[in-house]
């Protein structure tokens, strides 16, 4: 167990070092969510009466800010596994595979690094949200919000690492990731209240772990709880999702990297 932790940290250390050296990427990756919060937040500002009808007092932008924080987390983490393909192509993977560290440690190290990076990106978006006037009733809530973003990204990075380990090419990876990312974001109450979704969409949204994460973060930011989903149910589902993804990603990753690339 100790070795697994040590090895996971080794891979985590390497990924974070690489991230730090590619600073230009940080800003580029912020452009998209920034556009979402500034442009979409204002385009939809007229929907305020709809938002108020389900119990929100504030502006639309305050309603959707938690959604954009999660959007950042989704996309940073689901794209994050792509360097697995480079590692296999350029030999780092073989180097790691011929050393005594376990395959799971490679997957977990990558996932934890991706989740920290996703949380950093999300916190920058939170900063932008605050700068354009989104207000917190309780600023201390930033701590549990970031904890939830880290947890959620850890689970989501599992998807990325699995797809990257299975895909043999960049094309397959991006194809699958784009197919997964956008629908998972759209089929959640990130931009629109759950109660106002048509029934069939609401049913689908309730199967989506993104939904519960958005509800949790929104409740922490605005203090308003939505529908009849309790915080404990959301937390339970989030934890279950993360545990399943950790297990599944280590299993799939180990199976796939043992095949010739």
């Amino acid at each position: 167990m100790n070795t697994l932790m040590y090895d996971t940290y080794t891979i985590f250390w390497r990924e974070i070092k690489r991230y730090k050296k590619s600073r230009s990427g940080v800003l580029i990756r912020l452009i998209q969510p920034a556009i979402w919060i500034i442009v979409v937040g204002n385009i939809f500002s007229g929907t305020q009466p709809l938002i108020q009808s389900v119990g929100f007092e504030g502006e639309y932008i305050e309603f959707m800010a938690p959604g954009v924080i999660i959007l950042t987390a989704i996309f940073t983490s689901i794209f994050g596994g792509v360097n697995t393909l480079w590692d296999r192509r350029y030999g780092f993977m073989n180097k790691a595979l011929t050393s005594p560290i376990s395959r799971s440690a490679i997957a977990l190290g990558k996932m934890s690094a991706i989740s920290l990076i996703a949380a950093l990106q999300a916190s920058l978006i939170l900063g932008i949200a605050l700068a354009i006037g989104v207000r917190f009733p309780n600023p201390i809530m930033i701590v549990p919000i970031m904890a939830i973003v880290i947890l959620f990204s850890l689970g989501f990075s599992g998807i990325s690492v699995m797809v990257a380990a299975t895909a043999k090419s960049q094309e397959t990876f991006w194809g699958v990731i784009n197919f997964l990312g956008m629908p998972l974001f759209m089929l959640s109450p990130a931009l629109f209240p759950l109660e106002l979704l048509p029934n069939w969409l609401a049913v689908i949204a309730k199967l989506n772990p993104v939904t519960y994460t958005v509800l949790l973060v929104r409740e922490m930011m605005t203090g308003v709880s939505e529908g009849d989903i309790s915080i404990f149910l959301s937390l339970g589902i989030l934890f279950a999702f993360v545990f399943v993804m950790i297990g599944l990603a280590s299993y799939v990753f180990t199976r796939e990297v043992n095949k010739p690339f």
Binding site: T10, F92, K95, P260
Partner: protein, 332 residues
């Protein structure tokens, strides 16, 4: 004692048999070289020995550990330097070595000292804090090799250690490999398609072609078995070569003849006396000799005598005449 042993090792990918019933043993402490053209099965064998690929059948042992059953112990016993340089460009030289040290579970309190020592050995101490992005090809390769032996493995695998490097750098890398071998007294298993490299570094060589081992011996023995001189002849055209060869075989001192198109290679023991006889026979057959040379045998000659062709890429379907005709046709 043997560090590497294989028994009837076979690996096939679908219908293609990359490694075909290969059995050999590498003695502890020696530098053993796999010599063969691209596509001969060198890298595949090495990937099986380093636990990256599973053999289709047969067995491979590293220090007594089976690569299939005791993969973890095998990994603890080996260092593997791949054909491509795999150092992380964004990290500094030292950071790359720290990563390698951690991957191989070097105790924390020893990491710094070992890295200092190895940087000194490969003469990169002054560049250690620069990103690898700024390193030359030779420096990257040195760093890569250093990473492979930082944890003092029992067996170091070097897959084509000097491929793509210029000749000066190549010689420099050979010096480092020898230095490493003297200092750490480890077994080194390397693969190469450079004759000179195999000749220069290896205690013993296995010639591999088409997935099969043709011969294993020391470079000296191989060359001696060839006869102590080599006569290369180029004749004008391929007509009558068979008669020529059978007549040449009658000459005393001629041990073996290889033929590749208009090129004949004679392995002989008393060259200066053979040459006049060659001229005599060829003029009787009215065959015109374009050039003739007398040299000491090289590993090149050994390779040709065992495989029947010169060392080159396996896709030897490339036919200059045919290609030329094709281009001509396309132009007209």
């Amino acid at each position: 004692m043997y560090s590497v042993q294989t028994k009837s090792l076979t690996k096939s990918f679908g219908d293609v048999i990359a490694v075909n019933d290969v059995s050999f043993s590498v003695k502890t402490g020696e530098i053993f070289g796999f010599l063969g053209p691209n596509g001969a099965g060198k890298s595949t064998t090495m990937m099986i020995l380093t636990t990256l690929l599973k053999p289709t059948s047969g067995q491979a042992l590293i220090n007594g550990f089976d690569v299939l059953i005791n993969a973890k112990q095998v990994r603890e016993n080996i260092g593997y330097v791949q054909q491509e340089t795999t150092v992380d460009e964004y990290l500094t030289g030292r950071e790359n070595l720290i990563l390698q040290a951690k991957l191989n579970h070097i105790p924390k309190n020893e990491i710094d000292q070992r890295i200092d020592d190895i940087l000194e050995l490969i003469e990169l101490s002054d560049k250690q804090d620069n990103p690898v992005l700024t390193y030359s090809g030779g420096m990257r390769k040195r760093l890569d090799i250093a990473g492979g032996l930082l944890h003092k493995p029992k067996v170091l695998f070097l897959d084509e250690p000097t491929v793509g490097l210029d000749i000066q750098t190549r010689r420099k890398i050979w010096e480092y490999i020898k230095k490493i071998h003297d200092e750490f007294e480890m077994t080194i298993f390397l693969s190469t398609h450079y004759m000179e490299e195999a000749d220069n570094l290896c205690d013993r060589i296995g010639i591999i072609d088409g997935g099969k081992i043709q011969v294993i011996d020391s470079p000296e023995n191989m060359k001696n078995a060839m006869g102590n001189e080599v006569i290369s002849i180029i004749i004008e055209d391929e007509k009558n070569t068979t008669t020529l060869i059978s007549n040449l075989r009658q000459i005393e001192f001629v041990k073996n003849i290889n033929n590749d198109g208009t090129k004949l290679i004679l392995f002989v023991s008393n060259g200066t006396q053979v040459i006049p006889k060659i001229f005599q026979i060829s003029s009787e057959l009215e065959i015109k000799i374009i050039s003739i040379s007398l040299t000491r045998p090289t590993l090149d000659d050994v390779f040709i005598s065992y495989t029947g062709h010169e060392i080159r890429d396996d896709d030897s379907g490339f036919n200059r005449k045919r290609e030329h005709a094709k281009i001509k046709r396309l132009r007209s």
